[in-house]
Subunit: 208 residues, 8 copies
């Protein structure tokens, strides 16, 4: 249905063998293949049979590119606070790139150190869509939403402990954001955020 | 910050007197005023002092328009199943209209009667952004997301009883949607969905 | 009490040794034995002492058949979306078969790709009872329930992550199904769905 | 789709005026009309315009019968414990009757007074399908399921207080029933249980 | 035990008569009396028998002062976002004042409009203790905690709807604050925050 | 304070070394020592330094008896359904025995096979106190409570899966028991049930 | 089954008329009648037809005594903290008295004012069974359990707000009590605590 | 911003290599480094490159001191019950010491053995701030808060099982404490409690 989107494999819970077989079948149809939540073991199994496969370690993504990659003019900004949220932020950023978007990363701009966020604000405001990744108290999308006029897709992460309840605290905070223009995806769902951001970013491209 | 957006009053929990005073103060600044979750009592208090105030009964919205309304070329589609979800759907649709969007309503297209949804599909596919409103099992955004290539903003409603837990069932279903391109706002938050949809719809307008 | 039902062992949490001893004792009474949630280790321990034991890998079921298997005329359809739900779907399908039902599998018919489901609809409508297995947003039984007139037994699976809360999202969605004729069993309880479906399927047989 | 089923109105949350208008529109199509969760006010509004409308007080059901009622040979048994669960039990029983089933009521057979249940057992065992309604600890379907070979549809009720959490205790108990052949519907959903029971009961009729 | 603290009555759930009798008995011992969660009815009943009783409407507090009020040198700052949180903020501010603290209010400084907060920062930084009141996504204490070096007592409010779950979203956000130096009290517990802030503020006074 | 009670070590989460040192220190005071939730590794570490230590495998209990054991005349009955609940039932039974009670075990008397329970009823009714252990739907204490006049202490177990939520289903069912005379302890807390049962059983002994 | 126990009516949710009819039917059998959760309206309806009916206002109990009341030698102590918990404490105390127990009340002995509890300790220690009623943090049964050797039945109350979640905080605290000999009943279930305490108290009487 | 505070690394979920690199970078700036939730493996990696690094085993803390340590006159008291809570108590105590506070430990003073707590009371009352660490029923801060006039920071621990729900029972109990002057941090957050206590303790120092 949707042109230019890769076929996607959610690798978690699948054996390396299963992932390899699915990837190979897709690859033979000459479409792009994207494996998310992939361990190095998953990648190595795929690499054995598809030599051009690439692994993005931090993003835990396997990519097999079979179509030419063209970049959008509009930029998707991925904003995140600490190093702990980076795997999810990278899942979003790499997915968005592999789907043909120009992506800019703004990491280490958490709400507990506001000056770093304010310092980057001019650049952030140039993005057409924003993905805001945050764990624990999940305040980043709200603060960001109050500072920009682009739509903000909020990704709660399961980073935290105790009353975090595996991401519930950030999820609820984001759903209750007092800033307008914020929508939310599932906990740790960097992929889903990138997919929705791509659909939005394309609106700007297509209409030109 | 954001041009063309009205000043908003969340009326629930405020007295008619309080809403009237806030509305009047905004009105004097000659901006647009939008009151959500407004009862008829709220409206009547406002109407006393602002004659041009308009009440949208089903949407529970008070509007005072002080700036000219221009309509977007791109369409926001509001999709909903049953009559019970209509107040939330109307909150979304009226808010979007008052923010300058062209809006099309697709009501009575629930997933338990799939043919009605499929019947409207061609028209739905012409929308630039979709807002999908559903209570109970909250399946509509997922089914819709699998059929269209526009971004889908899902609004869970608190319609239901028992294990619905005031909208929790629909909220969780939407956050776990197996269809890509779906993002979610708070339970019953038609306003928030319309606001985000407006930001997205503008991308298409501005870029032209 | 119930004629033609095997004696059942829930293997999870039991040692291979424990399962073997229980199976052997049952086998000696010349009844059918059915071990669910069985690992290969469980099976191998049983196989050592009961040579005719069979292992259904994907369904994680051990079977020892001591009575003749006769098949029903009425068909139980097992409907599921993705590969992740297959272990639960297979637990239901194999259990139903071992209890003497004719079973038809409809896999890969998830709600995010509706055309595949609609394509199989004629065949699905010929079943006397349906078991619908789904994780994540759990929308399949609702969509199915709106398309068929057979009773639908919904099985939520724990497949998903984040706000899935180990199957809670699918469970709540199914309990709140806006389609009538849907009843629900515990998360991942393929066995229980097959058992109930068998009781229902027998009504048609016995009455003839 | 489904022949012989009435059109249904869920009255709770609708005004008497709304219910009357919907009922009238259906009535004009000469189909049967069934209003559930109906207050006396709802009924009186309907009665004004449809004289043949009947109100079942305890079941909170409005019925307008426009087609002849034929009764099944197979019996649906509705089993419940105390007086507090009767509104839900009656919603199930009256719905089932209005859908053409022969229904037998077994009330006051709670698990805390087991002898009363055992005393009725012979008669209960003659039913083709059973609906078991229970609040609080929700043990009735489990005890019943161990004593009969008919399929049991369990309806948790919201009767109770404190750690009952509006029916959650009974719902969880039923989903975790250690008796096989039990499936579950939403809290207080007597209507849904009757609908599913009707589909099952018909299997016996149709096959004859 | 604690000198200078009033005797406290939690009025919610008590009849005006009960509150009056308790207040009178305390008043006769010539101690200060503080009634929280008091309605105007509660106040009027007390006023009848204790003429010097004062009512703080927004804070819902009844005060009977029988000891001289001396003010601390150190300031307790009460920081809050919107008008909806003001009853809780005022409960904190008035309680703190009646316990002898110098209090400064910083209202309308929510995180979605960061510039207003930053604008007040110099003054906020002069406070010895801060009470931060916020509902919905509860981000204020985190943002504040990153900007000041005073201890911050966070008060979640039950303001919000849907996935707010009566204050749970703000409570969890605050417990998971990524800013250090933040401690939390119960939802809507302005009184408790003021009491703890008073104990802390006294450390500075006493040590001088 | 309480004469005749052993000193107790909760071994879970402690290293074998830690358990050994604590046990040894207690042993030297010549009191009885009871280690609960003890693995075989814990036991072996203790055995090395206290030769008379005994291990109850299924109950996961280490016992060092330093005082003479005298048995009560009154009997504590421990009632349980399946093999999965036996570790908790045995923790209760062995603890009660080591605290000087005469204990009778009634295992395999679950509510889904009522006749086995009824068959043992005469003997069960002779007990002075009953401990009822059950997982999943937790119906046993309710059924039992309706059949006996002794106080019943209900122990929910974490046995189950899915909507069992680690024992929550059984816990809630027991707290909502429609049978009177039932009190509840924590999930899997066989020890606590035995301790309370001992206090109750002693009333009968002491008063003689 | 159980001699000397009254027939019980749970009045909440029943109309005055319903309660009157049930009470009258019981009264005619010349047994004792006990109505719990009864409003004054319930009582007045009963009083009209049963002149000897008595109403315990704070306990919300209706009593009709048709058998002679004899008092136990052993004492049940009812221990509670503040005035807010008194309705539940009185439900327990009055129920226990009407079931023939000698009851002693120890109110205003909360854990935040420990000296009052310690002051009453000698008298508390003379009781054969204790019922400890507490809301909010629910610490009373734990503190009490550490000071006495009688069995303690803990009753959580729904008194509190915010993160109290209608009694959940106290319930969980009591189930997790670090003191041994504590068992728990449902939130606000003073009746159930009294019933269980009666069964225990009788052990001492009967054995004499 | 805050003078005298170390740079902090949350080690859990980071590899030894990552922790070493972050620690080294900080160390080179000649600031103090504090690693929390550090395993021995984390420490050994740091030790390899920073010889003066110290490991606090029970507290799971790595410390690199690069600035002189001066001790406060005011004392922070850390109060805890059993050995299971010691890791969290030690995280609090060691963090507070490394931040320059004089710290006194009061361990083994749980509420189930009240005399030990009362015995230490005089010494506890001399502290300027108290940190109360407790799991299970979480009653310690409440009992303590009623006995002292210092502010109490409550730390719930995840110690317990069953209805403890990983610390939820203690967390809710502390948030609902009936004693005033108690504020709460996240489950197991000894670090956060120490940080807040340091800010409070400094008030007394600075003002002198
Ligand atoms: N229906 C609504 N749902 C969620 N947020 C809303 C809604 N209506 C208004 N708001 C937000 O509430 C703010 C106004 O709140 P208040 O100042 O309390 O009237 C606006 O700025 C909006 O962002
Ligand atoms: N608004 C409040 N929130 C929480 N606790 C309060 C509040 N007001 C009073 N309290 C506490 O409630 C106690 C009085 O409760 P009561 O005896 O029921 O009136 C006081 O000692 C305070 O500790
Ligand atoms: N306050 C109460 N809390 C819990 N259960 C109660 C209470 N009062 C009565 N019951 C139980 O409710 C039953 C009567 O319920 P019902 O037949 O609905 O009036 C009695 O047998 C008691 O076991
Ligand atoms: N044990 C702890 N619990 C909660 N927060 C902590 C803990 N240790 C460190 N932190 C916070 O975590 C931050 C460091 O996180 P990170 O950058 O992921 O190492 C510090 O600034 C502290 O505010
Ligand atoms: Mg914004
Ligand atoms: Mg729907
Ligand atoms: Mg699905
Ligand atoms: Mg059965
Ligand atoms: Mg700070
Ligand atoms: Mg009983
Ligand atoms: Mg005790
Ligand atoms: Mg105190």
């Amino acid at each position: 249905l949707r042109k230019g989107f890769p076929e996607v494999i959610f690798c978690e819970g699948k054996t390396p063998y299963q992932v390899r077989e699915i990837a190979l079948a897709m690859h033979r149809k000459e479409v792009d293949v994207l494996g998310t939540r992939a361990s190095r073991e998953h990648f190595e199994a795929v690499k054995e049979v598809i030599d051009k496969a690439i692994y993005y370690e931090e993003a835990r993504i396997i990519s097999v590119k079979n179509t030419p990659l063209k970049k959008t003019k509009g930029v998707i900004g991925v904003v995140a606070a600490g190093t702990s949220d980076l795997p999810v932020a990278e899942e979003a950023a790499v997915t968005a790139e592999l789907m043909g978007n120009t992506v800019k990363r703004f990491y280490d701009v958490g709400v507990a150190g506001l000056h770093r966020l304010l310092h980057k604000l001019d650049e952030i405001r140039k993005c057409r869509v924003l993905i805001a990744v945050a764990g624990m108290e999940g305040a980043l999308p709200t603060v960001l939403g109050g500072l920009v006029s682009a739509p903000v897709i909020a990704v709660p992460t399961s980073v935290g402990y105790g009353a975090n309840f595996r991401g519930l605290s950030a999820l609820l905070a984001m759903l209750n954001s007092c800033a307008s223009g914020v929508t939310v995806v599932n906990i740790d769902n960097g992929f889903g955020a990138a997919y929705a951001a791509t659909l939005i970013n394309r609106i700007g491209e297509e209409e030109k």
